[in-house]
């Protein structure tokens, strides 16, 4: 058996990954198991798959899960109605059922000649039973199409990345088959690297002030929705475009609407700024 080459995934220019995450990705790829990623919204769960595909030079297939998505949709769809219509008007090829079988995202990933990166995004959005319906397919990396008596099996096992926002609990049987990694909220140092990866030209003084203010706001215990990394990045570009002087950032928190999305949270921030000014 050929031993799979250990990957060279180290994060990418745009994506800064912690050593633990890189380790988890390596293990998942080497063992051919799906990697389940959880973490606060905005910590870059979806970005991870893109970054892996980019740095390994593989095709990325994204299967975005919605509340109505069925497991079958990812495998294949048999377009019965089209076939019926075609048979009415005697257009050619009705006998060939294969013509009416359309592969889903998972099927696509299996059929690709080269190894692909398959992102199953926000798996928790789907029905409670959804993950259970994919157990066999993800385990054996194959499925059977009864209509054509055909088995689709993966030519090379795709690298499967699954993200979850923990909106629903996932079934144990499914979890048992995954490698799990929880992306923690980055600390100040890592956050600085992440910001620099996105905005290499940002002024050092501004960056320090922004990060200071950002973590102060996150530490306000009563916030209903804490601002995330992606909101911080938006905020920085707003501050840069607005030409705000770095010294005003901590004391005034300009453009706070980019960070906080709830009126209650804004009120909390205002009273916090007020008490700072007085103290």
């Amino acid at each position: 058996m050929a031993i799979q080459r250990l990957t060279s995934f180290n994060g990418s220019v745009e994506y800064v990954a912690s050593p633990e995450l890189i380790g988890a990705v390596d293990v998942a790829i080497a063992l051919g198991k799906p990697l389940l990623i959880k973490g606060e919204p905005g910590t870059g769960k979806t970005m991870l798959a893109q970054s892996i595909a980019e740095s390994l030079g593989k095709r990325l297939i994204i299967w975005s899960i919605k509340s109505t998505t069925k497991a079958q949709d990812g495998l294949y769809v048999y377009d019965v109605v089209q076939r019926l219509y075609d048979s009415q008007f005697n257009s050619g090829g009705v006998d060939d059922i294969g013509k009416y079988i359309k592969l889903g995202r998972l099927g696509d990933a299996f059929c690709d000649e080269k190894q692909t990166v398959l992102l199953i995004d926000e798996i928790d959005k789907a029905d409670l039973e959804f993950p259970n319906d994919l157990l066999w397919e993800l385990d054996k990396m194959e499925f059977y199409i009864p209509e054509t008596k055909q088995t689709i099996s993966a030519k090379t096992r795709p690298i499967v990345i699954i993200t979850s926002n923990a909106e629903k609990e996932l079934p144990d049987a499914f979890l048992r088959r995954c490698i799990f990694h929880y992306i923690e909220f980055p600390d100040k140092d890592l956050m600085e690297r992440i910001v620099l990866a996105h905005y290499p030209d940002v002024e050092r003084h501004l960056l320090g002030q922004v990060i200071e203010a950002f973590y102060q706001i996150r530490d306000l215990s009563v916030l209903q929705k804490k601002p995330s990394t992606s909101e911080l990045l938006d905020w920085i570009s707003a501050l840069v475009i607005g030409g705000i002087s770095p010294d005003r950032i901590i004391s005034e928190v300009p453009y706070a609407g980019v960070l906080l999305k709830k009126t209650e949270d804004m009120a909390v921030l205002e009273s916090h700024i007020g008490s700072q000014a007085r103290g």
Binding site: G23, V27, V81, L128, P171, D172, R176, R177, Y182
Partner: protein
Amino acid sequence: MFINFFYRLRACGVATSLNEWLMLMDALEKGFARTSMTEFYNLCRSMLVKSERDFDKFDNAFLMCFGDMETVEGGLSEDLLRWLDKPKPKDCDTKPRDIERNAALTRERIEEMFEERLKEQKEEHNGGTYWIGTGGGSPFGNDGEGEIGIRVGGKTNLRRAFRVASEHKYRDFREDEILSIRQFQMAFRSLRQFSSRIAVPKTELDIDETIRKTCGNAGRLEVVFGKPRKNTVKLLLLMDTGGSMDYYSGLCATLFQSVIKANHFRDLKIYYFHNCIRHDLYTTPIIGPKYRVATQWVLNNLNSDFKVLIVGDALMDTDELVKDSVSAGKNQMSGLKWLRILKRKYPSLAWVNPENLPSGVIRYKNWGESYDIIRKEVDMYSLTVEGLRDAIKHLLSSDGHPMMKRAV
């Protein structure tokens, strides 16, 4: 290899299985994490633990198996950890002789001494060479100058695996609950009544009608679509909050989360009350005039086809339940009367109770009397997976016929 660790994990409540264990062995064989303890720790965690909630349990088990250097029988008191977290500036001078003496101690001796100090020490210490504290030259504590010893609490600079584990970073995620959200969610799934008489786009293929029409067309296909069947259940959730209910806040939060996440209800309304439903309800768990809604308003606006689920411990002063009161110059009906009004308006109504009092027990004064009164009045179920299932069965079966009732 490390099989003890596997059993230790399971004993600590991490539900890891043989599959995952073999997977880990596979990974170790492939050469992951052979060089560093931290990598080994990360590897084990990513393979054996499947929820951030279990990270803390994993940390404990990991420490017990591999980190005997830093576990202390009986645990460290919160006070001690707090003192150590805030080191004072090093302004005291420690005697180099004592530091030297401490440096000559053996590992075993240090552990013994540490246990002794743990028993003796009652206050914060910073500096010095004897007590556990910050700075100073004793072999215990952190930020000190002692060359060897036990590091206790504080921020770590050297990210060694044991240190990471002993920090209990994931304690917040722990959730030692008997009931998981998933179990509750599964129970709420059964709270469904399907109907196609709702205004939604026609997206579902109606096979029977398609066949009929196609035959009518002498075989030329005509596809007919119908409206998909949707859940028609409307749920009104009334939750007791504050006071004696605080004890059950975790359980109620689980119930609440699973109701919110069920999102298959046609309509869902949630209100809060304190002890018993009276003339006012509240839109948030914080009972305050700002969030007040008149109960009568709710009754007027929500039709009888709402199913009502009340969550509360039904424990209050008996007078509070049965006696009318005067407030704002008006005579206000008692909680019991309101409960009867609710029952009349909403034929399917159930009460789930986190408290489980056996009946006929001698109680302190009249404490608990309200429980019996309410139980006689409405169908009460315990807040467990079983109880919730029964309550939902009751809600579905006691459908009532609001139309007929109204006519009476």
